[in-house]
């Protein structure tokens, strides 16, 4: 019997086939799907990144706007936050008046979503100019205060007794709810 193909060669052939099969199966069943998955995921990531960047940009822009507003309107913002203090007010505005009395503070109806406190004030001024200065000062004061009717001036000797109502505007307790549909806008 002449041996044509040796057992060893058969084994080698088998080994090669098995390894080849493994390589092929692995490539097609695992590697290639994974590769496709990779491409898909990468594309999705790019998309997500793009969107994120857009959002980030917008966010930063909004932030700048906010900061800008906040810095420009710092006084107003703080004024709205500051709770009204009778003593401070009297102290600050005493300059313009010979005497100043805050008589009554009471909460009134909200205006534009803001809390309103009505403050009755009586004072003595020597001349209307004081009142003008006072009104000027109101706008630059620590609170958002609007002088309101009724305003009475009564001459008393050399002085003028003035009494008026002030509306002190403050942030409402829940600042977050801007439920008011901002008609003021």
């Amino acid at each position: 019997m002449k041996i044509n193909i040796s057992r060893h060669q058969i084994y080698i052939l088998l080994l090669t086939l098995v390894l080849l099969l493994f390589v092929l199966l692995f490539s097609f069943l695992l590697l290639i799907p994974e590769g496709q998955d990779y491409r898909v995921k990468r594309k999705e990531l790019r998309k997500a990144t793009l969107e994120y960047n857009k959002y980030k940009e917008f966010h930063d822009k909004t932030l700048t706007t906010l900061k800008d507003l906040q810095s420009k309107n710092r006084n107003i913002i703080t004024a709205f936050e500051r709770p009204f203090s009778k003593e401070r007010f009297e102290k600050q505005n005493r300059v313009n008046f010979s005497s100043l009395n805050i008589s009554r503070i009471q909460r009134a109806k909200d205006e534009d979503g803001f809390a309103v406190y009505e403050v009755n004030t009586t004072s003595h001024i020597s001349s209307p100019v004081n009142f003008y200065d006072f009104l000027d000062g109101l706008n630059k004061g620590d609170w958002i205060i609007g002088a309101n009717f009724p305003i009475k001036f009564v001459r008393e000797g050399e002085m003028i007794r003035s009494s008026f109502t002030m509306k002190v505007y403050e942030n409402n307790a829940d600042k977050n709810s801007t439920a008011s549909a901002s008609s003021a806008k």
Partner: protein, 341 residues
């Protein structure tokens, strides 16, 4: 563990190489777990490793990585010693330049390192896995008889005789003889072969030549012949043999015409002479426990003629038992034993 698994997956290929006188015999056996499944042999008319031989062998080797190439050691300088004790080696032979191995703690076989190396180098292209001593074949082939009483066991190859004398599994004496390179004395007698009394033809010319030659030596020998007639004396026996040859030549003529026959006769006779000389050496040498041999067992690989048996029986009064041996198969058996198959 893993190796065993791999081994069991493959066939085993045994390549057995016997270097004969003018050719190299390659015998290949292929084994599976169950046993031999194929064998093939081829004889290459060359004493060198040829491409044809290599191609032939490689054709079978490629079947399996588990192939074993075994070669019968054909060194001139090889033999066996009756002891395994290293201290006693020097008593028999200086084996300082020899490779030796102990067989079952009973006797040692040795061979020349240089010749071993030459052999390995000769087959370096194929590579060699096993090199076996012919004495191993003797022991293996006759293992049933060796346990018994004293006898001489000889492996007859084309150009060597490996003989060993065993008694009850103990080696008493062993010699590895090259038939073709003989002692000077023997060579002279190789020229003119004689058979027993059957051959009546004698070339007178040759006789004349022989006579002349013999004449020179005869003086000494005749004297010896005259002096000693005791067959028990070893030296005398040797010379007696020689002188006997002379007488026979005087009486009978030699047949020159049958060249092959003559060669065969020649060789067989040489073999006989070789065995005879060796046995004489055994008897003579004090180092060996010499006892009278009665039985000879021959492992015959060359198909000796009946004359060979006759020589031994009639000249030396041995009981001769000749068994045919396929050396290449025996080599294969040795290789299988080495691997534990």
């Amino acid at each position: 563990m893993l190796d065993k698994l791999f081994e069991s997956l493959y066939l085993k290929v045994f390549v057995n190489i016997v270097i004969k006188e003018k050719s190299i015999l390659v015998y290949i056996e292929i084994h599976s777990k169950k046993g031999v499944i194929d064998n093939v042999q081829s004889e290459f008319e060359t004493l060198e490793v040829t491409e044809k031989m290599i191609d032939f062998i490689q054709g079978y080797i490629k079947e399996s990585p588990y192939f074993y190439i075994s070669i019968l050691d054909n060194s001139l300088e090889q033999g066996a010693l009756p002891t395994c004790k290293k201290n006693d080696f020097a008593l028999y032979y200086d084996i300082s330049s020899c490779e030796y191995k102990c067989y079952e703690k009973r006797w040692t076989y040795y061979t020349s390192k240089a010749e071993l190396y030459t052999l390995e180098k000769k087959f370096s292209e194929l590579g060699v896995d096993f090199i076996f001593s012919p004495f191993l074949i003797v022991e293996n082939f006759f293992q049933d008889k060796i346990k018994g009483s004293l006898a001489l066991y000889a492996l007859v190859e084309e150009n060597f005789i490996s003989l060993a004398i065993f008694e009850e599994s103990k080696l008493l004496y062993a010699e590895h003889i090259d038939i073709h390179t003989k002692d000077e004395d023997d060579e002279l007698f190789l020229v003119a072969n004689t058979n027993d009394e059957e051959d009546l033809h004698l070339d007178e010319q040759k006789d004349g030549i022989d006579l002349e030659d013999i004449d020179i030596d005869e003086d000494d020998e005749l004297e010896d012949f005259a002096d000693i007639e005791d067959l028990d004396s070893i030296e005398e026996i040797e010379e007696f043999e020689e002188s006997k040859d002379i007488e026979e030549e005087l009486l009978e003529s030699d047949t020159v015409f049958d060249e092959p026959d003559e060669e065969n006769f020649n060789e067989d006779y040489q073999r006989f002479i070789a065995i005879q000389s060796s046995i004489n050496r055994f008897y003579k040498d004090e180092r060996y426990e010499s006892r009278f041999i009665e039985n000879i067992y021959i492992a015959d690989s060359v198909s000796v003629s009946s004359d060979f048996k006759k020589y031994l029986e009639e000249e030396m009064f041995f009981n001769v038992y000749i068994r045919h041996v396929e050396i290449e198969a025996e080599l294969c058996e040795l290789a299988k034993e080495e691997l534990g198959l």
